[in-house]
């Protein structure tokens, strides 16, 4: 009997990687990056969001390379991100300047500026559409032509910006108005998070969180393992412009900032009643905002994030969803999938060690080496 288990690692890896490539190629089909970009928008959005790198092309490439595995695509993009120099921080984004594609409020029947359904799966019936089995470009073109025809006669004269729903409630005094806080946020990718954490750190970790994990914990809180019961003040999806300042000549004038592009985001403000101790020692309910935001259109995650944001704002011993370490240290896709999958690595030294320990217990005596 020869040497066991640990010979030929190099060859085995090479063969495994070849086999992986074979699996990707053997079907004799090529999915183009552009096809992914054009037809799998929400998948690209989700990968960008969990990878916290806004780069649709690279995300599509990652999806292609990963053979459609979410965790793998996110991993690829994260690893790529860490090789990129980061030369600038953008100026604070103003979500009021969003070019809104979709905007709904669950709190009011009618909101100033109006509800704006936009593109959503919410009201589609989830029946498999077998027409998609055989699509043709001609059909597409025809449909698109008709769709555009239907839009004729609508004259968009100027871009409309929508104020935040919460601003109206603030004006009414139903929400507390806080002074703008211009403290530089901490960057969790440059400094490891320490507890108790800042809200800026919490929001970063939440928005980078794995969609399924964030959703699951938000759901758990909503269902009873938590104390946050929100009403959605506003979900908005749309594009917001990003500006950076000159690195050396710090311009104070907004006009002199550099526009570097726009990103699509989903932003959620949840209204959460929280008890507040008033001066006359009575408790009163006040509304606080749970905040959620994610790259692209990813509404479920953004809403769940808004729940968890507010959960972590009010720690509560009884519920893990209100425990910052429990939530923030377990929702990262790269961390959780990496550590779970490392169990596939050989552990025979540690196992041998435990085995020895158990055998010694059976033998009895004080020390292990009797």
């Amino acid at each position: 009997m020869g040497y066991v288990a640990v010979k030929g690692g190099t060859k085995a890896i090479e063969a495994s990687i070849d086999r992986l490539k074979y699996d990707r190629l053997k079907g004799n089909e090529i999915v183009e990056i552009n096809t992914i970009l054009a037809t799998m928008r929400t998948l690209v959005d989700q990968v960008m969001s969990e990878a916290s790198l806004y780069a649709p092309f690279l995300a599509a490439l990652a999806i292609k390379q990963a053979g459609g595995s979410m965790e793998e695509a996110v991993f690829l993009l994260r690893a790529h991100r860490s090789t990129l120099p980061r030369n600038y921080y953008s100026e604070t984004v103003e979500v009021e300047k969003m070019f809104v594609e979709r905007r709904v409020s669950a709190s009011f029947k009618d909101i100033p500026g109006g509800q704006f359904l936009g593109a959503t799966n919410d009201y589609t019936h989830r029946l498999l559409d077998f027409n998609l089995v055989e699509e043709s470009m001609e059909d597409h073109e025809q449909w698109l032509a008709e769709y555009k025809k239907g839009l004729e006669g609508i004259n968009a004269t100027e871009i409309q910006y929508f104020p935040k729903v919460v601003d109206y409630l603030r004006a009414e005094g139903l929400f507390k108005t806080y002074p703008l806080d211009d403290t530089t946020p901490k960057d969790v990718t440059k400094e490891s998070i320490q507890f108790p954490s800042d809200r800026s750190e919490r929001l970063q970790v939440l928005t980078r969180g794995q969609t399924g994990a964030v959703t699951a914990l938000g759901y758990a809180s909503l269902r009873g393992y938590g104390q946050v019961h929100p009403t959605i003040g506003e979900v908005r999806v749309g594009d917001i412009p990003i500006h950076v300042n000159h690195p050396y000549e710090k311009n104070q004038d907004e006009e002199d900032l550099f526009y570097i592009g726009e990103i699509k985001v989903t932003e959620v403000e949840s209204f959460v009643p929280v008890p507040v101790k008033k001066n006359d020692r009575k408790e009163e309910l006040e509304f606080e905002i749970g905040y959620g935001i994610s790259f692209g259109q990813n509404e479920t995650k953004a809403i769940a994030m808004s729940i968890l944001d507010q959960c972590l704002e009010s720690p509560h011993g009884e519920f893990p969803t209100h425990d910052e370490e429990f939530v923030l240290l377990h929702i990262d896709s790269v961390e959780s999938t990496g550590f779970i999958s490392h169990l596939k690595l050989p552990h025979y030294v540690t196992f041998q060690s435990k085995l020895d320990s158990m055998r010694q217990v059976k033998k009895g005596g004080k020390t292990n080496a009797n």
């Binding site: 101790k277 001066n279 006359d280 020692r281």
Partner: protein, 279 residues
């Protein structure tokens, strides 16, 4: 000649809340019971001073909310007191206000000089560890590294508090309330602390169980001459255990003296009520 007190407590203060213009200045403070009607700040402990002498049992009696438990938790460093001084008559701590020591030094005091028995065993015991482990923890914290010694001492203590040794490896969560209290007492005594704090230790126990726990405390006091502070809302408990007592109301001491004297001849109106209700 009077003995030196083992514990001197001077002007303890503890408030919960920020305070406001109406209550921050003690001169103009107008409280309702112990809280400020304007801002809701609770003045839980206000200007509490007393001495504890070697081997004596000092009773602290008062209704819930009188500040007695808060005061005890402050002495044991479970909560931070706003102001005040505490001196322990130990050579290495001579004339140091222990409230101002570092957290390491405070832990030293907790491990070597103080013992604490909480009203709720959950606060004093680790429910996931064995009973003997719970007792061992305190000895380990105080530097014991010999399993044989720790085990022997723990067993002796468990016998002292009438826990059958066959159950010593069980977790205290399997135990009845009275047994849990006895494990806590054994743990508190493990390092022979010169000072022992007992916070409502019999509250919530059945009467017969109460009696056995009280007997145990009396026996410990007789045999070990530990100085104790016994906090209770129950004057009967105080009467049974304490040589000397203080009565607290709304965060302040309203009466103090020999327990017998207080019971025979209560001065303060509140104490009178308390005593008459006992009769």
């Amino acid at each position: 000649m009077r003995e030196q007190p083992i514990l001197q407590v001077k002007n303890l203060q503890k408030k919960f809340g920020e305070g406001c213009q109406h209550c921050l200045d003690p001169e103009i403070r107008q409280l309702e019971k112990n809280f400020c009607p304007y801002c809701g700040t609770i003045y839980a402990v206000h200007d509490v001073s007393f001495d504890l002498y070697p081997g004596e049992v000092l009773g602290v009696v008062g209704e819930s909310g009188s500040g007695k438990s808060t005061m005890l938790q402050g002495l044991y460093f479970d909560i931070e007191l706003a102001a005040g001084e505490v001196y322990i008559n130990e050579p290495m701590l001579a004339s140091q206000n222990v409230l101002t020591l570092s957290s390491q030094q405070k832990r030293y005091i907790r491990n070597y000089i103080y013992g604490m028995v909480y009203q709720n065993p959950l606060d004093g015991l680790k429910m996931k560890f064995s009973s003997i482990g719970n007792i061992a923890e305190k000895m380990i914290a105080a530097g014991s590294r010999n399993v044989g010694n720790i085990e022997a001492r723990s067993k002796a203590l468990l016998e002292d508090v009438h826990i059958p040794l066959r159950r010593m490896k069980e977790e205290p969560r399997n135990f009845s309330g009275g047994m849990q209290q006895r494990v806590q007492i054994a743990k508190a005594l493990s390092n022979n602390p010169p000072i022992l704090f007992l916070d409502e230790v019999t509250t919530g126990l059945d009467l017969s169980v109460q009696a056995s726990v009280l007997d145990l405390i009396k026996q410990i006091q007789r045999e070990l001459h530990i100085s104790m502070i016994v906090v209770s809302h129950d004057l009967a408990v105080i009467r049974m255990l304490a040589d000397r007592s203080i009565v607290m109301l709304n965060g302040t001491i309203i009466e103090n003296g020999l327990t017998d004297q207080i019971l025979e001849d209560p001065q303060h109106e509140y104490t009178q009520q308390l005593v008459y209700s006992l009769l």
